[in-house]
Point group: C2
Chain length 243, copies 2
């Protein structure tokens, strides 16, 4: 993926630098624990063991290929899941938001190829150390039921995205994406991220966006787009959704 690819690589290698996650301690840690209590998700006193990790923008929570030592639960921020192919191609697989788990695959499966996870904003996670809590978690009915739900939704969502990606041209997928990520009537995701996520070239993404403007679905002003014809976008997006 010509241009897009290079841009991504340089971006990512930059981020391999010396930044480091910060362990939040004492009072501040306590504040987070109180504000986002997750004790009801466990039947053992997990809060004793929880570390609070704070990551800056573009930091890696997990490096691709390295097994994490924690199960993470995101309480603030956004991150992206990346995966590198053998030919060096890098692809954005999904977004991670507050209330998502990270590292649950590694908790459950002995054998698992770990994907890379990079923050896209400042991100705060609860980090539950596996060496202390692994067995307790795997024997905790409340937690497992919770995790099972999370995973089933994740699997469903991926399945939907997968067949959607195969079955429809960018026009439909982009309409869907715009509606999902727009802030009110304003859409302003970064093109480089989006073309990565939707698996199309930068060039083509711009082409279809321009096309949307021409047709009056969007109006471009500076670096952002106003949604002008929501109905039409919903129609385009709807085609690719199921009941």
């Amino acid at each position: 993926m010509g241009t897009g690819w290079c841009q991504r690589i340089t971006n990512r290698s930059r981020a391999l630098g010396v930044k480091a996650m910060k362990k939040v301690q004492k009072k501040e840690r306590q504040k987070y624990l109180e504000k986002h209590s997750i004790s009801e998700l466990f039947s053992f006193p997990v809060e004793e063991y929880i570390e609070v990790h704070e990551y800056r923008r573009d930091e890696w929570i997990i490096r691709e290929g390295m097994r994490p030592d924690y199960l993470y639960y995101v309480i603030e921020g956004k991150a992206k899941i990346y995966m590198t192919y053998q030919n060096g191609k890098v692809s954005l697989i999904n977004f991670i938001n507050a209330h998502d788990y990270i590292g649950e695959m590694e908790l459950l499966n002995e054998v698992y190829y770990t994907k890379g996870i990079q923050t896209s904003t400042k991100t705060v996670c609860f980090a539950i150390p596996l060496h202390h809590c692994r067995n307790q978690m795997l024997g905790d009915i409340i937690f497992l039921r919770e995790l099972t739900k999370f995973l089933s939704m994740k699997a469903t969502q991926m399945a939907a995205k997968y067949s959607q990606s195969l079955a429809f041209p960018l026009e439909n997928r982009l309409a869907d994406f715009i509606l999902q990520t727009a802030d009110g009537d304003i859409y302003r995701e970064k093109h480089v991220t989006v073309c990565d996520f939707l698996g199309v070239s930068y060039r083509h993404l711009l082409h279809v966006l321009a096309n949307f403007c021409e047709k009056g679905y969007l109006h471009k002003s500076g670096r952002q787009y106003w949604i002008e014809d929501r109905e039409r976008l919903q129609e385009l997006a709807g085609v690719s959704r199921n009941g």
Copy 2:
């Protein structure tokens, strides 16, 4: 999807006919239960409640949009997961094989859009009635741990397929698919199924297959293809896989 689409629709509507699943009883039921014991997957005596359902080729185990009354565990046979879009387009999402669960989404989630599941060979399932066992299953640590593993693998697999589908042209995905489904050196999946699964038109699939023959990767004889250059196919497929 012109031709392909029509072919599929007619195929599917035919299968909406009067066939019906058969409940296997008594001795035969007992035989299945003994041969494929799943009691170690549960900590309650699930076998009392299990029904054994037998489906013929092309029967629907679950109709799209209808919540099932059972959690199924496949013990013999193969099936396909389908999903219909609002514009009538139908897409094959995945294959189901022995030892897969069916209906776990509905067990876990109150709200879930049920996909259609159609057998492609004679298929035998254990059917665990939800109205009897739902609560017991959701409180069963052994079962939940098992299910969680299953779901995590499913989610991972979908994620891999998804990004693969976006990131590579048919050439790579088809090479992968051929290697995965070939019986020794012989490949003979039905084109209509394959183009559905890989999300490409029938025409294009044939085109790429012909291309593989031209280049000497495959040799066509009658209705099947011999793998002539496995290494090259692995190379093509490998590119799209991760460590």
